[in-house]
Symmetry: C2
Subunit: 223 residues, 2 copies
């Protein structure tokens, strides 16, 4: 397979699309960006992702892929040589997939819930989020990145935490990453945020705060 015709559908703010942007840049894959406006979905997005109707969508040589985790695995398949996102060793690969899944299924869901609730419900969601994040804090140990000295698959998945968490904290007025409990996660966020393929694509913080304030108000009003 060639690199010809790689297209990425994304929005200016999607943290899931950001995973794919950073992955493509790390791998050195050239691609074309198609910016979607999710409030006003263009027909091509619906055509490429009729089930979830969401970005990111990757098109390569006429084939379409959706779901950021699935896309990341694809990008790391041998058609795109260069930097490896997943480790070579089968066991280490399974550890990586476990943490990626734990991030998506547990950590982000619980953080998200804490963000969209108020009062007692928020307290409960927060407890669960903190509990999940404690497992991550233990796993990261004192390494620079999740797998050691180099950025990899899990870092890109947990990029959501690096990118969004302090924004959600500010908008919902909750403190999640307390420095006493999460010194290693906070250190990782600092290191991760400075990686060029991450930093150069981060959406502007002020614009994100406006966006997430509006989302939170909308959710709270409709519950």
């Amino acid at each position: 397979m060639s690199e010809s015709g790689v297209k990425l559908f994304q929005t200016w703010s999607s943290p899931l699309a950001l995973r794919v942007v950073s992955a493509l840049k790390l791998k050195g894959v050239k691609y074309e960006t198609i910016l979607e406006d999710l409030a006003n979905k263009i027909p091509s997005l619906l055509q490429y992702n009729p089930i979830h109707k969401k970005v990111p969508v990757l098109v390569h040589g006429g084939n379409t892929m959706v779901e950021s985790l699935v896309i990341l695995e694809y990008i790391d398949e041998p058609w795109a040589v260069g930097y490896r996102l997943l480790p070579e060793d089968p066991y280490e690969r399974s550890v990586t997939r476990f943490w990626a899944k734990f991030g998506d299924d547990r950590v982000f869901v619980s953080v998200w819930r804490a963000f969209f609730k108020e009062g007692k419900e928020q307290e409960e969601a927060l407890l669960l989020a903190l509990n999940n994040l404690r497992f991550v804090e233990e796993h990261i140990k004192r390494k620079r990145f999740f797998r050691g000295d180099e950025i990899g698959f899990i870092d890109l998945i947990f990029g959501c935490v690096a990118n969004l968490l302090s924004i959600l904290e500010e908008v919902a007025k909750v403190k999640i990453l307390d420095p006493q409990t999460f010194p290693l996660l906070l250190a990782w966020i600092e290191v991760f945020s400075e990686v060029p393929v991450v930093k150069e694509n981060w959406p502007p913080r002020e614009k994100m705060i406006v966006k997430f304030k509006a989302i939170r108000e909308y959710y709270l009003a409709s519950n």
Copy 2:
């Protein structure tokens, strides 16, 4: 890596462990079974899977893996030659991973919800489940198995549907797989259920019905 020391922690009824059992048998990997009693968790399960505390857990050469999807990917890595669960082509692999994820994140969650609810809430959950299952019906087309003539990764993932759905239908007194709407899924269930590595491990239907009646009553009473 060698096949020495492959151990699988499972229960007599876990549909997620069944995925791994069938996969190991398809690959021809010899393994030792450790039967867990989840009502009375033995310390070794808690030690091997401290985060989720659930089966299946696979131990290979001293390494521990959890999450059936992660374990299936590992089993298909090159250490275990023989039958391939995932296709060789990177794009086909990504399609496979998409459907596996869609099964776990959408289909089974919505079917499960329909099973544990009553009245209006059940009707709503059922609508969602049917909608998700319709995408699967479309995807399967007229193939014997999800990828064609041979059993593979997606079949093992959707084994839950084959194995559990008619049991849940009977216990919750709902009809989900109507032959007019889901002729292809029903045909697939029939073919899948007759594959020896599946059939020889299925838990006895009557025992499953007793178990799921008890689970449902417990959930409904505690809500």
